[in-house]
């Protein structure tokens, strides 16, 4: 890994980012990012409805394009069609982002100095 390349969990903090895809390609890319994101997102539908939840799956084939979501508001899961998505906001905290390991190592180093 080169010095100026951040590790995957520190590349970018998407929290707060809003994406309004204007093409199928952009939509696919945003959905992939939402799938990879370890936090909740808010999916705004073309109907005006908003769903907050965790994107745990996405399937895109010739015959099928949908997203699997664990909603925060209720148990079970939802399936949302790609075609119904107007926007995705990375509204929840990315639980994998950050430097918790460095903080722990720093703590152990300080203990070692005492």
């Amino acid at each position: 890994m080169s010095q100026d390349q951040l590790p995957p969990n520190q590349e970018k903090d998407l929290q707060g980012s809003v994406f309004r895809p204007s093409s199928e390609e952009e939509l696919s890319d945003v959905v992939d990012q939402a799938f990879d994101y370890r936090g909740d997102v808010t999916i705004e539908l073309k109907s005006g409805e908003s769903i907050v939840g965790y994107v745990f799956g996405r399937t895109k084939t010739d015959s099928r394009a949908d997203v699997g979501v664990f909603p925060t508001a209720k148990p079970g899961q939802l399936t949302i069609q790609y075609a119904d998505i107007a926007a995705i906001t990375f509204s929840g905290k990315d639980t994998a982002y950050g430097q918790s390991w460095e903080a722990w190592i720093q703590k152990k180093k300080e203990e070692g100095r005492k």
Binding site: F56, G57, T95
Partner: protein
């Protein structure tokens, strides 16, 4: 001998039956993840980073048994998260044991002494205790002081009560050969049945992104560890897999060998990567692009040498040819032969 004869017979019979039926892709170990919530946040783990409402989800006993029935693998490994947090874990295990599955219940042992009386000793049940090294190394790896001592105490309790106990060790770039070998001595002195070792996988989501082993370093480390092996060390793994770690054998990954089922569904393509989920095992086998994964096929697989992908390859090697079988016998009887 680390693994009981009955388990070796069951696995051998199963693999031979697959070969007779000319099954190209068969599962060997079901990786069953009923819960992702954990009571630790280990530096090398990329499994638990989810919002709370996802960590609160869990598989029911019925879902676990159905997955096992659907998959058919003779061995079920239950990692997590921390499985002992699941309030119905003992029931899940009871149902799997009734199905005569060899269950490896993986745990950091923090809750083991509290929960152990919910379980019955059985040749089908092994507590696989997460131990990444001697006290300093283990507590550093799990990012909490005192865990090593709790785990050792729990190991002693479990052994005293008649349970099968193994250890499960993940090694990283900073592993000190002498100390790891001392660790092997300590674990065998405790009386565990056997040890499992593996290089850590470079999870994108793990907190420590600097300590993962590259492939050549893995060969180097495991050669130093496993050459001039002590007779008393028992490894609960295929001897051919250990030779693979040492760089003595070249294997391609068998990702379908250890299929994974969790709250999201059946995970494509393997225990370590998350490229999507399907609702049933048959679809997992049919719709996963298996040719896109493995050494030389995928950037994410480049340095991976983890047992969940390669142990199944080693087992397949044992049963695929007389030379594979002979190699296994030789490696078992003469582990220090060059």
């Amino acid at each position: 001998m680390a693994v009981p004869i009955s388990q070796m017979f069951t696995v051998s019979s199963y693999v031979i039956a697959q070969k007779i039926k000319r099954v190209k892709r068969y599962p060997l170990v079901l990786m069953l993840e009923p819960i992702f919530r954990c009571n630790l946040a280990c530096a090398g783990c990329g499994k638990i980073q989810y919002p709370d409402h996802v960590l609160d989800r869990r598989l029911t006993p019925e879902q676990c048994w159905a997955a096992s029935d659907e998959c058919g693998a003779p061995i079920v490994s239950i990692p997590g998260g921390e499985p002992l947090i699941h309030p119905e874990m003992s029931e899940i295990v009871r149902g799997l044991v009734e199905r005569k599955k060899y269950v490896y219940l993986c745990t950091n042992a923090i809750l083991l002494e509290r929960k152990i009386d919910e379980y019955q000793p059985s040749k089908y049940l092994t507590f696989s205790i997460h131990m990444d090294g001697l006290r300093n190394e283990h507590d550093l790896a799990v990012c909490r002081d005192g865990v090593y001592d709790v785990a050792v105490k729990a190991i002693k309790t479990a052994l005293k009560k008649g349970f099968r106990v193994t250890t499960n060790t993940t090694l990283f770039d900073d592993a000190n050969t002498d100390r790891v070998r001392s660790f092997f001595d300590e674990m065998m002195d405790l009386g565990v049945e056997g040890m499992m070792i593996s290089p850590g996988y470079s999870y994108d989501k793990a907190p420590d992104q600097k300590s993962f082993l590259k492939r050549d370093r893995t060969h180097e480390l495991f050669s130093r560890l496993l050459s001039n092996r002590k007779r008393g060390w028992q490894f609960n793994q295929s001897p051919l897999f250990l030779e693979f770690l040492m760089g003595k054998r070249d294997y391609q990954c068998t990702p379908w060998g250890n299929p994974t089922y969790n709250v999201f569904g059946w995970q494509k393509p393997c225990y370590l990567l998350q490229d999507g989920y399907v609702s049933d095992f048959a679809t997992l086998l049919k719709e996963t692009d298996w040719e896109n994964y493995g050494t030389g096929r995928n950037e994410k697989c480049k340095d991976c040498m983890v047992h969940c992908g390669y142990e199944a390859t080693a087992v397949e090697d044992t049963f695929s040819s007389w030379s594979g079988f002979a190699g296994t016998v030789k490696a078992t009887l003469f582990p220090n032969a060059t």
